[in-house]
C-alpha cells in the first residue's frame, strides 16, 4: 500500500495534472492510467463493487494501470493528486447512473468512459427512456408512471382500478429508477397490484407500471469501436421464476443462451433495436438494452443501462465473450476510444 502511494505521488508530479492532462500520444509505453469508480451509496453498491473489481482485473491483464476507488470524501483529492488519464464510472444506481457523478467529472475536466451526464439522465429514468425510444419509432410496452403522492391525492383504490382497466393484466411494476430488478414485481392478479406498488415505492417515490409482454427475454449489449456502435450477440435469459436479484447473482436458477436462440431476422431485429435505442438516447461507448421478443418476433424495449453490470454473472461480458472478444482487450479498446475522442475534442 505504502509503495503504491509513493509511486502515485511520483506520477502526480510527472503528469502535472494542474497543467492540463497529457494527450493520448503522451500517455507513454506504460499505458493509460485508469481510475475505476465502484461502490457508491446506492442499493446496488455490492453489484458495483463486483463489477469494478472485474473490469479492473481485466484492464490490468491488458497492461493498464488501474486503481479502483469508491465515491466518497477522498475521491476528489485522489483524482486531483493522481491525475488519471481516464475515469471509468462503474457505478450502478443513484448518482452513478443518473448522470450526476459524470457531471462532477466534467466539472473537474476529467475524461471518463461512457455516456455523458445529459444522456445518462434520460436513460436512467425508465419512463423517459421509453418515451424517447418510442418517439424514435421503437416498440415499448404501454405504461404509466405514477408518483406516490398521486395515489394519496386521488385515492389509491381508484387509481389501481384505472391502471388495471387500461393496461389489463399481467403487469410489471418497477421503481422508475434503479437496476438489478430491485423492487420489481410481476402482477398476475389485480389483488397483487397494491403490494407490488408498496415494494416499488420502497425504492423511490415514483413507480412505473407497464403491460407485461409474453415472450423471450433478451439483453443486447452495444459497444463502440473505431467504426461506431456495434451490437454484440443477444443473451437470452431463461429463468425459473422471475429474473430477480437471486436469479441474477446466484448461478443456477437462470440459464443463459448466448447467442440467443433466434432466427436471422429476429437476431437482426433485436440488434437493430439496441443500436436504435443507443442512438436515440445519445449513449456513448457502451450500453445494454433489455427487451422482450414476443411470439411474433417483434422486440419490445424495456430499459437501457448506461453502466451495465460487469460481474461474473452479468450479461454484457457474456455477450462480449460469445462474440469472441477477450474482455481485457475489449475493455482496453473502449478505454482507447474514450481517450481518442477526448484527445480529438480537446484539440
Amino acid at each position: 500500500m505504502r509503495e503504491d502511494r509513493a509511486v502515485r505521488e511520483d506520477r502526480a508530479v510527472t503528469a502535472a495534472p494542474g497543467q492540463g492532462a497529457p494527450l493520448l500520444h503522451a500517455v507513454g509505453a506504460a499505458g493509460p492510467r485508469v481510475v475505476v469508480l465502484a461502490g457508491g451509496l446506492s442499493h446496488e453498491r455490492d453489484v458495483s463493487l463486483r463489477s469494478g473489481r472485474r473490469v479492473a482485473d481485466a484492464l490490468r491483464g491488458a497492461g493498464l494501470e488501474v486503481t479502483v476507488h469508491d465515491v466518497d470524501a477522498d475521491l476528489l483529492p485522489v483524482l486531483a493528486q493522481t491525475g488519471p488519464d481516464l475515469v471509468w464510472p462503474l457505478l450502478h444506481g443513484a448518482t452513478g447512473e443518473d448522470g450526476s457523478v459524470r457531471d462532477v467529472l466534467e466539472l473537474l475536466g476529467l475524461r471518463y468512459l461512457g455516456t455523458d451526464p445529459r444522456a445518462s439522465r434520460l436513460a436512467w429514468s425508465k419512463p423517459v427512456a421509453k418515451t424517447v425510444v418510442a418517439r424514435a419509432g421503437l416498440t415499448t410496452p404501454e405504461f404509466v408512471t405514477l408518483p406516490q403522492s398521486l395515489f394519496r391525492e386521488l385515492g389509491a383504490g381508484r387509481v389501481l382500478d384505472a391502471i388495471v382497466g387500461r393496461l389489463g393484466l399481467p403487469l410489471v411494476v418497477k421503481p422508475s429508477r434503479g437496476g438489478s430488478a430491485l423492487g420489481v414485481s410481476l402482477v398476475r392478479e389485480a389483488g397483487e397490484l397494491a403490494r407490488a406498488m408498496v415494494d416499488a415505492f420502497a425504492y423511490g417515490d415514483t413507480a412505473l407500471v407497464e403491460r407485461a409482454v409474453r415472450g423471450r427475454e433478451v439483453a443486447v449489449s452495444v459497444v463502440e469501436d473505431v467504426d461506431g456502435p456495434r451490437a454484440l450477440p443477444g443473451v437470452e435469459i431463461v429463468t425459473e421464476g422471475p429474473y430477480d436479484y437471486d436469479a441474477r447473482y446466484n448461478p443456477g436458477r437462470t440459464e443463459y443462451f448466448t447467442p440467443a436462440r433466434l432466427s436471422g431476422a429476429e437476431a437482426a431485429a433485436v440488434a437493430e433495436m439496441a443500436l436504435a435505442a443507443h442512438g436515440a438516447l445519445g449513449l456513448r461507448h457502451l450500453s445494454r438494452t433489455d427487451l422482450i421478443l414476443d411470439d411474433d418476433g417483434v422486440p419490445h424495449f424495456l430499459e437501457v443501462n448506461v453502466a451495465p453490470g460487469m460481474t461474473e454473472t452479468s450479461l454484457f461480458p457474456q455477450a462480449a465473450v460469445a462474440a469472441g472478444h477477450d474482455l481485457g482487450v475489449l475493455y482496453r479498446s473502449l478505454v482507447e476510444i474514450a481517450l481518442g475522442e477526448a484527445a480529438v475534442t480537446r484539440v
Partner: protein, 464 residues
Amino acid sequence: MTSETPGAGALPPTGAAATDRGVPAVPPTSPAGPEGAHGTRLDPWLHAYADRAHAMRASEIRALFAVANRPEVVSLAGGMPYLEGLPLDVLADLSRRVVATRGTTALQYGSGQGDETLREQILDVMRLEGIDAHPDDVVVTTGSQQALDLVTRIFVNPGDVVLAEAPSYVGALGVFRAYEADVVHVPLDADGLIPAALEETLTALERAGRRVKLLYTVPNFHNPAGVTLSAERRPQILEIARRHGVLVLEDNPYGLLGFSGDPLPALRSLESDGVVYLGSFSKTFAPGYRVGWAVAPHAVREKLVLASESAILSPSNASQLAISAYLATCDWKGQIKAFRELYRERRDAMVGALAEHLPDASWTVPDGGFYTWVRLPEGLDARAMLPRAVTARVAYVPGTAFYFDDRGTDHMRLSFCFPTPDRIREGVRRLAGVVAGESELVSLFGTSGARSVHDVQAPGPDLA
C-alpha cells in the same frame, strides 16, 4: 426447465484459462445456436453440489447491507464490539513480545484441543458465572461459531430436530441449516425461554415421532431478543431437557456484559452432564483473534477435538498465546467493566431515542449485551422497509433473519454496540422517518401483514 445436466454447454474451469481474469466460464464459441438445447448457468459444477449447498445463496437483503459500513450510514445492524475501547498500544506490545519470546510455538501448529495455559485461564473467566470445570473439559475453537458447527456436526443428522428460541441467533440457524437440521422454535418472553412451552413442544415432537437432538439457547442478553433467562427458570429448563433426553447447547458470548448486578449462574454451573457450554472472547475482548471455546462432558469433548482436528487441525496458536498473554498481564476484568459501562450508556441512548421517536413501536430493554428487539407498528414489514432505510442512511436487521420459518416480519433487531450514543440517536431519528413513510404507504394501499420470504438470509460476519 431443469435438466439432468444443467452445466452442459459450459467448460469446466480447467479448460477455460480465461476464468483467472474474470471471464465467465462460457465457451468462446458457444454451441448454442437456434437448435441449442442448453445454455449456460455460469457454473459448470452446478450439478455437483451437495443438496445442502443449494440453500447457500446471496440474497437481496445481504446486498442492501453493502452500504452499512459506509460512514454516512448509521448501522444499527452489526454485532461488532467497540474496539476503540481497547488499549491497542498495549496489545501491540503483547503481540510483539509473544512472537519475540515464544515465536516458535506461536507460529507453529498447536494442540487440536487448544493451548493448555489458555484453557486454564478460560476456567478463571467462566468462574465468574459459577462454572467449575477442568481444563481437559475445554476445547478451544475458532470463535464459538466453530464450536457451534462442531457440536452440530457430531450430533445432528439431516432431519433431526434442533430446538431454538423464537427468535434465535441468525448465525446458529445458518449452521443448523447447513447440516440440514429441522429447527423448531420455542417461544420466549421477558424472562427468557418459557419452560411450559418447552415441555409442550417436546411432548408434541415426541408424539410425532421426531428425534430432538439439541436445545440451543442464548440464556443471557439474548441475540436478538435482548432478554435474559431468569434464575428461577434455569433449573426448570435443565430438568425438562434432562427428562426428555435432549442435550442443552448453552451459547453465552454476552454473559459478562451485564449492566446491573452480578452475572446469573450459567446453565453449565447447574448441570455438567447435559450441557455443552459455548464461550467466546469475541464480544468481551476482540473478535479478530477468532478465539472461542466449548466445555463439554468428557466423551462429547473427545469427539469435538477429533472433529475440530479434521476441520482445522488446530486453532491459531498465535491468537491463543496473544489472548493468554493479555489475560495474564492486563486487567481484563477492568476492561470488561469499562465495556459494560460503555454499552450501558449506549443502551440508554437507544431506548431513550426509541421512546422519543418511535412511540408506536415496542421494544425490549436489555440488561446487558448488544441488542434490542423492536416490534414495529401494526402492518409494517421490516424486510420490505429495508430499501427505504438504506435510502435514509440507516441500517437494521429485519426480524425474519432470526427465524427458521416465515415469522419475524414485524420485528427488527437494533444493535447499540458500535455507534456512539449521538449516532444511535441520529440513527433512531432516521428510522422514525422511515417508519412514518412506510406506515403512510401501507395505509395508503391497505397492504399489511406478512408476505412470503423465500430466500435464506445468511448473514455477513459483521452481523453476527
